[in-house]
């Protein structure tokens, strides 16, 4: 799937510039964290990367293939901040994706175990707690056997315990050589997970560096201001 290359990426909707002039290259199978203030364009960039939104300017390619092509998108998966639970049992949510990807439904148990939900297999997915629903959404995404997993603030509404469980799922996915692209506001989470950080401000990328560099010496004024605001 890699590298991801965006060239002069821009998106305007109703004469409003949401993204502009984004040059980005993701080359390694690491955890990339996208950070920035509310309205900076993080989630929109994630959707463009996943091919859900077609940019109005520039290009975005995964290993030379257009991000919006079905073939490319089928090799990716995305988990949203508010996960959609299909109105059926926990295991049926996994089976749905396995069937969709022509995979054996016998794998259901494996993915349920990875989410720690094997004991709730027959329970309606919508009756699970917020943390469990998010873990199920990640397990369902992983059932697609993606090369890239996009996570849009997956722990924004979760308590610390549930957050850690989701993070361990993400780390485990990353160890299976799945490229993770995660959007988060949570600096502590970014420190725990990130290998590299993309910082966004006003619809553009102001900084892309290794996590070590970013957290010790952010290069852009926007990132410095963002970090100091949270530290205060």
């Amino acid at each position: 799937m890699l590298p991801l290359v965006t060239k002069q990426l821009g998106l305007s909707v109703d004469n409003k510039q949401l993204l502009h002039n984004i040059w980005l290259e993701l080359t390694d199978n690491h955890v990339t964290v996208i950070m920035g203030h509310n309205g900076a364009g993080k989630s929109i960039l994630l959707r463009c990367m996943h091919g859900l939104i077609e940019p109005t300017e520039g290009t975005i390619h995964w290993a030379g293939c257009k991000a919006s092509s079905i073939e490319t998108r089928k090799k990716q998966a995305m988990v949203f901040q508010k996960p959609l639970m299909l109105n059926r049992s926990t295991s049926a949510n996994i089976e749905y994706v396995l069937k969709l990807r022509d995979k054996s439904e016998s794998l259901t148990q494996k993915y349920l175990q990875s989410a720690g939900l094997e004991h709730k297999a027959d329970q309606p997915a919508r009756s699970l707690s917020g943390g469990e629903q998010q873990r199920l959404a990640i397990a369902r995404a992983l059932a697609c056997e993606p090369g890239v997993l996009f996570l849009d603030e997956p722990t924004a509404n979760l308590d610390p315990g549930a957050t850690l469980k989701v993070e361990s799922q993400v780390i485990s996915a990353s160890q299976q050589t799945i490229k993770i692209v995660l959007v988060t506001h949570d600096i502590a989470q970014a420190r725990r997970l990130a290998d590299d950080v993309v910082f966004m401000s006003d619809g553009t990328v102001t900084e892309h560096s290794s996590a070590k560099t970013f957290f010790s010496q952010p290069a852009s004024a926007e990132a410095t201001s963002f970090m100091s605001a949270y530290i205060r």
């Binding site: 996943h50 859900l52 079905i70 998108r73 089928k74 990716q76 998966a77 995305m78 949203f80 996960p83 959609l84 299909l86 109105n87 059926r88 749905y96 994706v97 969709l100 697609c144």
Partner: protein
């Protein structure tokens, strides 16, 4: 007051023993209305779901048209079906006029817009939640329709029920295309209309109570299955 006391005594008489004529009318009413509703659901549910999910030029016009057809007067619709099925009409060769099949066709045409319009609204509301995940998973359109219909099954039961209620309670269309022929096309509503015109109001009202009881039974059945599914 005396009319109402007569009504209850007539209801008692109607329900006390198995009157073959009444059972025949009840059975035909159920057969016609249930068949029409099921056929309308078989087409209206996927059609409504497709309209709810898919964007295309002219979608607003189609939606407004279907919503308008929900208010189609049964008499007008009955007349249209009558003209289609009459000997000189385009489907006259089928010789369906004054048969239960003609009544099913009329009720089907009456229920179809209701099922389609209510399904479209329900699925469109749900689609706003589902679209991101379905698009992300690259779910094909037909599968999206199936998924949304299955996931909305509980509320769609009410849609089916609304269609059935419309079918079982209408009189204008079935009396035109069915003709209210005894032992052939007489249903509850046409029987009520006949007894009213004959001036036997207690019997007409008693038949109305029986009709309501049937509707209550069907509603109870659907509600209990709805609870089970939930």
């Amino acid at each position: 007051m005396s009319t109402f006391s007569q009504v209850f005594s007539e209801v008692g008489v109607l329900l006390s023993g198995p009157d073959p004529d009444l059972l025949e009318i009840v059975w035909l009413s159920l057969r016609v209305s249930l068949t029409a509703t099921l056929a309308a659901c078989a087409i209206g549910l996927p059609l409504g779901a497709l309209l709810g999910i898919k964007n295309f030029p002219g979608k607003t016009i189609v939606t407004v048209l279907i919503n308008t057809l929900m208010g189609m007067p049964p008499v007008v619709l009955g007349l249209i079906v009558y003209l289609m099925l009459s000997r000189s009409g385009p489907m006259g060769f089928l010789q369906l006029l004054y048969t239960p099949t003609a009544m099913i066709i009329a009720q089907f045409a009456l229920v179809l817009p209701i099922v389609t319009a209510l399904t479209r609204q329900q699925i469109e509301d749900n689609w706003s939640e589902y679209s991101d995940t379905m698009n992300s998973l690259c779910v094909p359109l037909t599968q999206c329709v199936r998924t949304l219909l299955w996931d909305s099954r509980i509320s769609l039961l009410t849609t089916g029920l609304a269609g059935f209620s419309r079918a079982i309670s209408e009189v204008g269309a079935v009396i035109i295309v069915g003709g209210n022929i005894d032992h052939l096309t007489r249903v509850m509503t046409t029987a009520i209309a006949l007894e009213t015109s004959k001036g036997d109001l207690p019997l007409a009202l008693a038949l109305g109570v029986v009709l309501l009881t049937i509707a209550l039974a069907v509603n109870t059945l659907v509600f209990s299955s709805r609870t089970r599914i939930a």
